[in-house]
Every structure is written in structure tokens, then in C-alpha cells.
Symmetry: C2
Subunit: 406 residues, 2 copies
């Protein structure tokens, strides 16, 4: 396998774009990535595109890559459409890496693009539900009802006014609180940090800062989650251009190397603790020849604030049940020992599902090149991204971990 570099990357600002479709978002992100790599679109040899929800939102299935790229004059190259729910574009990134690492192509485009915002809100909710087994949906919603709604006999809101996944995250958070004494304040502190980071990121959907009190006082989504602890609904695109080492050296003096790319699913019945994120990370550290201690900066899948806290444990940043103490210590803030979600994360940067994986890689790309502006982590040399997607029968459908270095 050959060494593979990211030679360029770009993204749109995430947000709700009533007037931009998948094509417009694609054009902006891909042009930014091409400019960043210093190449013309004619240099691309293969494109892999991750999108999770266009079938439900717009009816476009089958050939989303070709539809969005043909519009900007990219054609006559092989194109692959991938899905893996919220991990759709990190899966696309793995395939792009594989095409280049194996020697099949020298220059590959990995694109994630998504419109989650729809004037018809039921479509947005249906799009989230498509990330679980749709035949199991009703039972799952019933099972996830927060205690307050069970008591009141209220119908579960999962299919009505909030994403099913927020019920899943809320149930996980309640269980963590019961088992380890983690507090709602500790979850809220993650949100304070990420909204603060987002305020420093021009590509973030939300750029406001909030106090701990404001996070806690925002409307309840599903106990213990408040609205400001949940990733917003939004649209956007992110693109990365991968090259073989020889080709990358012709185009950039600042390549960012892909040292590990892992994709897993399931629950890891073999593991004492953690599950598949721990497994994906273990495999990635092995592949890259580094340890968690070597990592300078990390983007993780904080679709909710508690998710980030629990990922600290799965990724080995602290022991089991110690996520709350870690966030209290400030270690994961910019300036701390290991800054996490410097981009603002999904909470503040936003979470256009299929675009998130490559957007995480974009942030690490900037950090490792020293181009992250006000949110730059000093001396960042090793970065990690963790991106999770979907759920089947209580098991994660897809989790990817990528390790990048200068």
C-alpha cells in the first residue's frame, strides 16, 4: 500500500440553505478543495460521494454523485455513491484512500453533501429515521421513551418533533448518569466548550457563545438533553482531495498524511468495555503506529453533548466513567492537553449528516497545517477523527476512525 496525502480540502459553511440544493453546495465545497490542492477539476481520476438522505428529502437515489458533479462539469471519471448514515462521507473518504493507497488511482475526490433542511419537516424526520431499521422503528421509539413521557402517557415525540437519535442519545446519557454519577452540568459543559469553539469557526452554523446556565435553560428535547446540547439540522458539503505521495509532492509543500483509516460496525461482544468505537480506535492506532497520548487534536461525533463525554472514554482519553471529570478539568478545551472538536463539533458547526465525516477531516487538515486561525491548536502534529452512523438492533451501524499527521 502506498502513502496517501490529503493535498487539499474545503467546505461550505453549514447552515439552513433554503435556496441552495445539493448541486450548489457541492460546487462550493469542491471548488474550495480544488483551489486548496492547486489543481483543476480535470486532474481528478475518481470520485466517491457520501450522502445519506437525498432519497427521502428530494427523491434522488442511485446516482447522486453523478448528478451533483456533472452539474459542475466533472464527468467521465468513475464515481461511487456511498451511504453509512452519519458516517457516509467518512466511508467515502476510506474508499478514496483505498483507491489511491492500492495504486488504482493517483488523485481521488471524497465528497460529503447533504440537505437535511426541508420545508416539509416530516421529511427531515423521516431522513433521520432512515438511519435505523425502518421495520423496527415503532418498537424502538416506544422503548426509548423518557420516564417523564412514560409517566404522563404522552406519545413518544421521536417521530413527531425530534430526531429519533436524540431519544437514543438521551437514553444513553441517563444510563451513564445512573451508572457513574455523571451530571447534567457535565454534559452541558461539553456544549459550552463546543459552542465557544464554533464561535471561532467561520464555517460553523451557529457562532454564539453560551454560559452553562444558558445551555441548561434552553428547552428540553429529551431529558437530560436540552436543545443546545443537540446538533442542529442543517445543510452543507465538505470535500477532500487525496493523492499518492509522488503526486502530492508536486502540488503542495504541506501534505497531510492519512496514517490510518478504519471502518467497523456492530457492538464488539469481545470487548469488556467500550464497544465498536474503542475497537475502531484500537485498530487505527495500531495501523498508524501511534497511541492516544500522541494525538494533538481530535474531532469526534458529538451529535449530542453526552456522546462526546462518552467518546472520551471509548477513545481512551480517560478511564471508564471518568468522562465527566475530564470535561471538568478543561483538558479538552483549546489550550488544554487534548483539544476536542475545535471546529465547534456537530453541536455548533452543524451536522448535515452525509457531510459531517469529511468536514471533520477538513478541520484536522487545517489544524495540522497551522491554518485554523483563532482556534489553532499550537504545535498540532497528529489528529484523529471519529465519525459514527446509524443503529441496528442496539448496535452501531458504522464507525470510522481516521488518523492524520503532518
Amino acid at each position: 500500500m502506498r502513502n496517501v496525502a490529503i493535498a487539499g480540502a474545503g467546505m461550505t459553511r453549514f447552515g439552513k440553505y433554503a435556496d441552495s440544493g445539493l448541486k450548489e453546495l457541492t460546487r462550493e465545497a469542491v471548488n474550495a478543495a480544488l483551489a486548496s490542492a492547486g489543481i483543476d477539476k480535470s486532474a481528478l481520476q475518481v470520485a466517491i460521494v457520501g450522502n445519506a438522505a437525498a432519497g427521502v428529502i428530494t427523491g434522488q437515489e442511485c446516482i447522486r454523485a453523478q448528478v451533483v458533479l456533472r452539474e459542475m462539469g466533472i464527468d467521465e471519471i468513475p464515481m461511487v455513491n456511498t451511504e453509512n448514515a452519519c458516517a457516509s462521507s467518512s466511508t467515502a473518504f476510506q474508499l478514496a484512500w483505498l483507491y489511491v493507497a492500492s495504486g488504482v488511482y493517483d488523485v481521488a475526490l471524497a465528497l460529503g453533501v447533504e440537505k437535511m433542511f426541508s420545508p416539509d419537516k416530516s421529511r427531515t424526520l423521516a431522513a433521520f429515521s432512515a438511519g435505523v431499521d425502518v421495520e423496527q422503528l415503532r418498537g424502538l421509539m416506544e422503548q426509548l421513551k423518557p420516564p417523564s413521557e412514560q409517566k404522563s402517557g404522552a406519545e413518544s415525540g421521536a417521530g413527531k418533533s425530534r430526531s429519533l437519535f436524540m431519544d437514543i442519545y438521551a437514553a444513553g446519557a441517563r444510563s451513564h448518569m445512573a451508572k457513574y454519577g455523571t451530571t447534567k452540568e457535565q454534559f452541558a459543559r461539553v456544549a459550552v466548550k463546543n459552542h465557544n469553539n464554533g464561535s471561532l469557526n467561520p464555517h460553523a452554523q451557529y457562532r454564539e457563545r453560551y454560559t452553562l446556565e444558558e445551555i441548561l435553560a434552553s428547552p428540553t428535547v429529551a431529558e437530560p438533553l436540552t436543545r443546545l446540547m443537540c446538533a442542529p439540522i442543517g445543510d452543507g458539503a465538505a470535500a477532500a482531495i487525496l493523492m499518492s505521495e509522488d503526486r502530492a509532492r508536486q502540488h503542495t509543500t504541506k501534505p497531510v498524511w492519512v496514517r490510518a483509516s478504519t471502518l467497523v460496525s456492530g457492538s464488539d461482544h469481545r470487548a469488556e468495555h467500550g464497544g465498536i468505537t474503542a475497537r475502531a480506535a484500537r485498530l487505527a492506532f495500531e495501523m498508524a503506529g501511534v497511541t492516544a497520548r500522541d494525538v494533538s487534536v481530535m474531532e469526534v461525533h458529538d451529535a449530542s453533548a453526552p456522546a462526546e463525554l462518552m467518546l472520551y472514554e471509548e477513545l481512551g482519553l480517560c478511564g471508564e466513567g471518568e468522562g465527566g471529570q475530564l470535561v471538568d478539568s478543561g483538558a479538552t478545551e483549546i489550550g488544554g492537553r487534548l483539544p476536542v472538536n475545535t471546529s465547534g463539533g456537530l453541536l455548533a458547526k452543524g451536522h448535515p449528516v452525509g457531510a459531517t465525516g469529511v468536514a471533520q477531516i477538513y478541520e484536522i487538515f487545517l489544524q495540522l497545517r497551522g491554518e485554523a486561525g483563532e482556534r489553532q491548536v499550537a504545535g498540532a502534529r497528529v489528529g484523529l477523527t471519529e465519525n459514527g452512523g446509524g443503529m441496528v438492533r442496539g448496535e452501531a451501524a458504522a464507525t470510522t476512525v481516521h488518523i492524520l499527521t503532518v
Copy 2:
């Protein structure tokens, strides 16, 4: 890159399955492939699943692989969901080949699974329409109206009672007739051949034989296509298990080798003749180190009978405009110089869109192992599959060519 073998393959019979969903179809095809390879499901290391239309038909997006495979107890391995319209599972096959050829995994499952049949016929038609740019749909339908419907001022039937793609194929057929004098009878002869082959295939959706007169007398879909010249709507699944050479030799004495795997899109503006199928084939012949003359048996994408005739020309079986003469000569019948679509092709075996690519490979796998029963091609040593999918602005969205050998 390492040598890659197909160690096992299996498929369901194609058909309209009112009582079987994606999970049941998957179970049958994957179990057949596992049995064929002589391995347990626990030996699988990665799965790539092609499906084109479940989002439109059932609302299941994002994680179709995980949903269908978890049900049969396959989990905790990396899974990738791919789409490329009618070429979805040949794209999955390419990725499976890439994972094994590159050395990342030793045992990969490529699966294609599709339900096109829905009690709500409008969903089936919407699923086909999702294979073009849905924003261009209305204009495309208008442009493709057969002359008879233009004259009568009738509304195009594309969105109503037939797949849009049949209008595309009919327009292509009319143009071939006008340019080269090809006749409707010659197209019908392709259908006679493929229905005859299908009658010999226990996995074919339709197993009736028809005379030339019966093909011509079946109801008109869009001039010059009659119903028996068009692939039917159906459901099904097909699976292949790919292994590294070392691993394959442990499990089988009859490996089938993947000598070439190509995927292209666009129109090939550089080509004088043919377009992207010709390009995909050229690249594949180069990769495999064989020529069209070396091929013993071929499965091509005959979603309509005229498509097969035109593919003869693109694949170099005859010169430009000579497809009609080639079918008249009988060369592509079983017993002829180069039998094409011995399985019955899409016309008779059926065309559950996302399952077709791997189903073609299944047929060649049988032929090369001498296990094709009544339709066996004597001494078959080199096989080729061609699978096309989708259309964007008059250009093919995806075409794959695979060359397999004993």
C-alpha cells in the same frame, strides 16, 4: 495488487415476491454463496452491499447493508452501502475486489439486493426515475416522447405506466434503425434468444420460450419496444465471496479469478465511436491482458433487447452498425461463436436493479466452473460482464466491466 478469486456465489430466483423483503432475499443469496465457498459467515471480513431503490420503495436509506445482514447474524464487520443505479452491485463488487486486492482484507462479501415490486406501482416508477437527475425529469420525459405520442398530443407515459428508461432505450433504438437500417425483427431476435436461455435457467424470473412472432405481437411499450423486449420488474438478491489467492486455495479447487474490474461514467467525448462502454471494455481488456476474441461467454446489460444489440458494437463483437447482422448470424446464441446472456439476461432472468451486477457475475462464475447445466457453454475459459446504470444529461452514470477467468 494481489490476485483475487471468487470462491463462491449464489442468488435467489428473480421474481415478484409479495411476501419476501430485502432481509429474506439477502439470507437466501448469502447462504447460497457461503455454501458455495464452503465457509461460515464468521469468516467474512468486510461486506459491500449494492441497492438502488429501498429509500423510495420502503424508506430504508443509509444503512441497508447493516439492516439486511444483521438480521442473519452478520455484524461486527465493516459494511459499505453503495449505489450506482442499475450498476449498484457491480460497483459493490469492484469495492470488494479492491479491499481484497489491496491486502486490507482476505475475505469480502459483495451483495446486490433489490425489491422493485411494490403494491403501490407509483413507487416502482419513482424508483426508476431516481436513476436520472430528478430535477431534469420533466424535460427528459418530454424530449423522449415517441413520435406517435407527440402526434396524438398524448401525455408521455414515462412517469405513468412505464419506466422512464424504456423511453430512453426506445429513442436509442429508433436512432439505430434510422442510421443503420437495423430492423425491429433483429431486436426481437435478441429477445427470442434470451427468453430461450432463460427457459434453461432455474433462477430466471420468466422461463417461457417465444417465437419471433410472439415477441413482435406482445403489447407495445414504446415504439419499437414490445413488452417481451423489455426487462420485467422484479425482486431478488445475488452474492459473491471474494478471497485472496492464498485463502481461496484453502477453500476451493475451482477458483474463478477476477482479472479486470473497471468502472467509468460519462460519454467519452474522445472516442470516435461507442462511448463509455467501449472505454470500460478497452480498459478491462488491457488490465486482463486479453482481447474480445479471447472471451468465451458474456453477460451484458440487456434492460431492453436493442441495448444488447448495440452493446455488441460497443464491446467490439462486430463493427459499428453491424449488431443486427451479428444477431441474425446466431453467433451470440448458446452454441454460437460467443454466447451472450446465457442466463436469460435482464430480459428473461429479470432485473431487480441493484442485484443485477452480481447476478451477472454469478452466471459467469457458473459457466467458468462448468456448472451451468443445460445452458453450459462448452470449454468456457474467459467471461465478461457489462453492467450499466443511470443517466445524467444524456451521459451514462456508471458502467462496469469485469473479466473473469479460470
